[in-house]
């Protein structure tokens, strides 16, 4: 039996791009590189307008431990440092670079392979390359590689579940770069002193399972595990539960149960950074959706606008109703194609009118579907109701803060209630309150 967790749903997979090899796209004439592409403090610019940069030039420095530097993704000239539309919503500071079309890289010829270096040197290099989790959350990877004193990690899980509909970037990476991914995993295991490594892949990717197994040979410490095809199989806590049987405590982190989860794309980026000194200036993403004229998996420079990517991929149809960064379950709807690709952009999904639901929310029927399917085993109908009525404290006692916003509840709800929206509203209220309280105390 394939491993899995309790709850979840199985939306249409729509992995139409699974067979399409990763291809490059024409470089853009300009890129917009936001200073905030990761969870944590935004980076601080270290270039000036008018300065010439190469691909890989560090253009902004990390600010504090939970932060990473940012690098130029094209060669050319810094045009402006100002506010630009950001895929996470409001406008945020970014560095605009006009490309000189030469695609000149920084000199990496005297780079020494660091894959065998000391853990500290590796953490430093991973951070220096600006690497963050590429699955979407964009948490700085070096932080995850530095568990605090007293926490030991015995299991490293590479997430190859890719459970969101449409997305196939990780799938393609596993098919095309299995050895590099494995090498990345080995480095992570060594840095953390973990005994066991796992690569969890949903069963709808048998070719990837086979490829990874072949690449593995007979290595004992690492295992490829097939997972049931179910959303959100790739969510951290669900993945850990499925693979190790351990439950990350409420409010806790994977390291509390000795686990670390990294996306396969991140492992690949780690490998490239250590082996060749390559900073994170590009990533693989999927362009798909019923409103995409041509779908595919593309290697795209960070900072390329969605408009450029969509255009070069083949364009969109007339009836495109929603542009999503990420997958249709957890992704973020964009109001403009002017937003840039950031480190956490796993896909650009163009949904047609027919695909999106425009039905107004109705009254909760108390059908219990959301309760049955919630992978965190919450009572989403009650949480949503309480937030809507302004009883955020009561919602908290129902597990408001344990919600991972996977959207399963809203997906199954016959009344089309916007649980996730309400939950986000509730959470931000709680966070604001907690901040206030801690200020009072401090």
């Amino acid at each position: 039996m394939a491993k899995t967790f309790k709850g979840g749903v199985h939306p249409p997979e729509a992995k139409v791009t699974a067979e399409l090899a990763i291809s490059g796209i024409e470089l853009p004439e300009r890129v917009i590189i936001p200073l905030s592409q990761h969870t944590g403090a935004p980076s601080v610019p270290i270039v000036k307008v008018g300065e010439k940069v190469l691909v890989g030039t560090k253009i902004a420095e990390a600010d504090g431990f939970i932060s990473v530097p940012v690098h130029a993704s094209v060669s050319g000239e810094v045009k402006a440092i100002s506010d630009y539309p950001h895929p996470l919503g409001r406008a945020m500071p970014a560095i605009e670079i006009e490309s000189d079309g030469k695609n000149e890289w920084i000199d990496l010829s005297d780079w020494h392979d660091l894959t065998d270096a000391s853990p500290d040197r590796i953490r430093q290099a991973v951070r220096g390359a600006g690497i963050v989790g590429l699955g979407g959350a964009a948490f700085p990877t070096h932080v995850k590689l530095s568990p605090p004193e007293g926490k030991s990690i015995d299991t490293v899980i590479l997430n190859g579940a890719e459970c969101e509909p449409y997305l196939t970037a990780d799938h393609r990476l596993m098919l095309e770069h299995p050895d590099e991914i494995l090498e990345g995993l080995r480095v992570i295991m060594r840095v953390l002193g973990a005994r066991r490594g796992c690569i969890g892949i949903e069963r709808n990717k048998p070719d990837a399972i086979q490829k990874m197994n072949e690449a593995l040979g007979g290595e004992n410490a690492i295992e490829v595990l097939d997972l049931k095809v179910k959303y959100p199989q790739g969510a951290e806590k669900q993945l850990i539960k499925a693979i190790t049987g351990r439950e990350v405590p409420c409010g806790g982190l994977p390291m509390d149960v000795g686990c670390l989860v990294q996306n396969v794309g991140t492992a690949y980026a780690i490998y490239e950074a250590l082996k060749f000194g390559k900073p994170l200036v590009e990533r693989v993403l999927t362009v798909s959706g019923c409103a995409a004229k041509r779908s595919g998996n593309f290697l795209v420079r960070i900072g390329t606008t969605f408009a450029h990517v969509v255009d070069k991929a083949g364009g969109m149809t007339e009836d495109c109703a929603k542009v999503i960064m990420g997958g249709p379950m957890m992704g973020i709807a964009q109001h403009t194609l002017g937003v840039p690709v950031v480190k956490g952009t796993s896909g650009i999904v163009l949904l047609s009118e027919a695909e999106i639901s425009l039905e107004e929310p109705g009254p909760c029927l108390r059908c219990g579907a959301c309760v049955d399917h919630c992978p965190m085993r919450l009572v989403p109908n009650e949480i949503a109701r309480l937030v809507e009525k302004g009883h955020v404290k009561a919602a908290e006692s129902y597990g408001l803060m344990d919600c991972m916003e996977c959207g399963v509840c809203a997906y199954v709800c016959p009344s089309k209630i916007n649980h996730v929206h309400l939950i986000k509203v509730g959470k931000s209220e709680v966070i604001a309150r907690r901040k206030k309280e801690s200020k009072k105390e401090g």
């Binding site: 939306p11 509909p165 806590k237 539960k241 439950e247 990350v248 405590p249 409420c250 969109m316 007339e318 495109c320 109703a321 929603k322 542009v323 249709p328 379950m329 957890m330 992704g331 973020i332 709807a333 964009q334 109001h335 999904v349 949904l351 999106i356 639901s357 425009l358 039905e359 109705g362 009254p363 909760c364 029927l365 108390r366 059908c367 219990g368 309760v371 049955d372 992978p375 965190m376 085993r377 919450l378 009572v379 109908n381 009650e382 129902y398 597990g399 344990d402 916003e405 959207g407 809203a410 997906y411 199954v412 709800c413 016959p414 009344s415 089309k416 916007n418 996730v420 929206h421 986000k424």
Partner: protein
């Protein structure tokens, strides 16, 4: 290109909506509705139509009067109408279903906020109101099915099977009953429990409320709802299981001499367990809560049938359990993933 929609995630939704749920239930009720007409004649059809039209009209009028959006097309009032008719004896006067439906919607549903907010199952509330106000019609307006007897047996034909059971049981547990009275009661029970009688109960060829008599037709509809995932097994199984267990334990002379199959097949249990106790709005949302709810219904139904003043107790049991739903939900919350301690 039209402006891009920005809305909260998830951006895709399952097709099933409120109407889809409601009309699935309506479809599931059709076999039993046809059965009702087959067994009790065209009168049954009129009663169903009157109750449904009255329910829908009442909802429209109430919503119009309170300036709320008119939602009669969602199908929920139609279900209330059909279920109310299913719970009426076929011989009631034609105004009775109308009064019941008006009560169900105007008193038991709309004042609480309409669909989703009513604490009691509207159809059952309507039925309870009728039973309290016009007990004679509600307990005596039985008609025998066109091809059978009211009791589904030959020895006695003036009561429904549960009515016969009640009379016989009262004789048997009465210490002062005479010997030939006892033997008559025993022979009634023997015939009630005979395979011919059970067959009548299973197919619906007995007296009873319009939609409750045919177990097989109800099960066909229930299977449809189960397969479509509209209802789940928890409430019906725990409800019927509890009734079976308790009537086996307590339904005869001495412990474990009852005849559970008779109790499962007779009266409104199957209708109630699959179509009324499972009413989403008025039953718990948590998996464990559903089982608690079913067991509660089962205990109450058995108690009323064996010890209460009425031969049947399904409606009241469900109504009483409806009231406990908020409590059940509160105390049966699932254990969160990663939650330590109490389960």
């Amino acid at each position: 290109m039209s402006p891009l929609a920005v809305g909260p995630s998830p951006h895709i939704r399952q097709d099933l909506n409120i109407r889809g749920v409601m009309y699935a239930v309506v479809i599931a009720l059709i076999p039993a509705a046809i059965g009702g007409v087959y067994f009790f004649g065209i009168r049954a059809l009129f009663i169903m139509i009157l109750a449904s039209v009255a329910a829908i009209a009442t909802e429209a009028i109430c919503q119009k009067a309170t300036r709320r959006a008119i939602t009669i097309s969602d199908g929920s009032a139609l279900i209330t109408g059909i279920l109310l008719a299913f719970n009426l004896p076929p011989g009631v006067p034609y105004w009775l279903p109308i009064v019941g439906a008006v009560f169900a919607i105007a008193i038991a549903k709309i004042p609480f906020g309409g669909l989703g907010y009513n604490p009691l199952n509207p159809a059952l509330a309507g039925r309870a109101f009728l039973l309290a106000s016009w007990p004679v019609y509600m307990t005596a307006a039985w008609t025998a099915p066109s091809r059978g007897t009211l009791s589904g047996m030959n020895a006695i034909t003036t009561a429904t099977p549960l009515g016969v059971f009640k009379v016989a049981r009262q004789i048997l547990i009465n210490p002062g009953a005479g010997a030939d009275e006892m033997s008559r009661a025993n022979s009634y029970l023997a015939e009630l429990y005979s395979s011919a009688s059970l067959k009548n109960l299973f197919f619906g060829n007995v007296g009873g409320c319009i939609g409750e008599t045919s177990v097989i037709l109800l099960l066909i509809g229930a299977a449809y709802l189960l397969i479509r995932g509209i209802i789940c097994w928890r409430i019906p199984v725990s409800y019927i299981g509890t009734v079976a267990l308790l009537t086996w334990m307590l339904g005869g002379k001495g412990l474990f001499h009852g005849y559970p199959l008779f109790h499962v097949l007779s009266g409104g249990l199957v209708l109630g367990a699959f179509f009324m106790a499972t009413d989403m709005v008025t039953s718990p949302v948590t998996p464990k809560g559903k089982i608690v709810f079913g067991i509660g219904c089962g205990i109450l139904t058995t108690v009323i049938r064996l010890y209460g003043g009425y031969p049947e107790g399904v409606s009241y049991s469900i109504l009483i359990m409806n009231i406990t739903v908020p409590l059940i939900d509160r105390y049966t919350r699932p254990r969160k993933l990663g939650e330590v301690g109490s389960s």
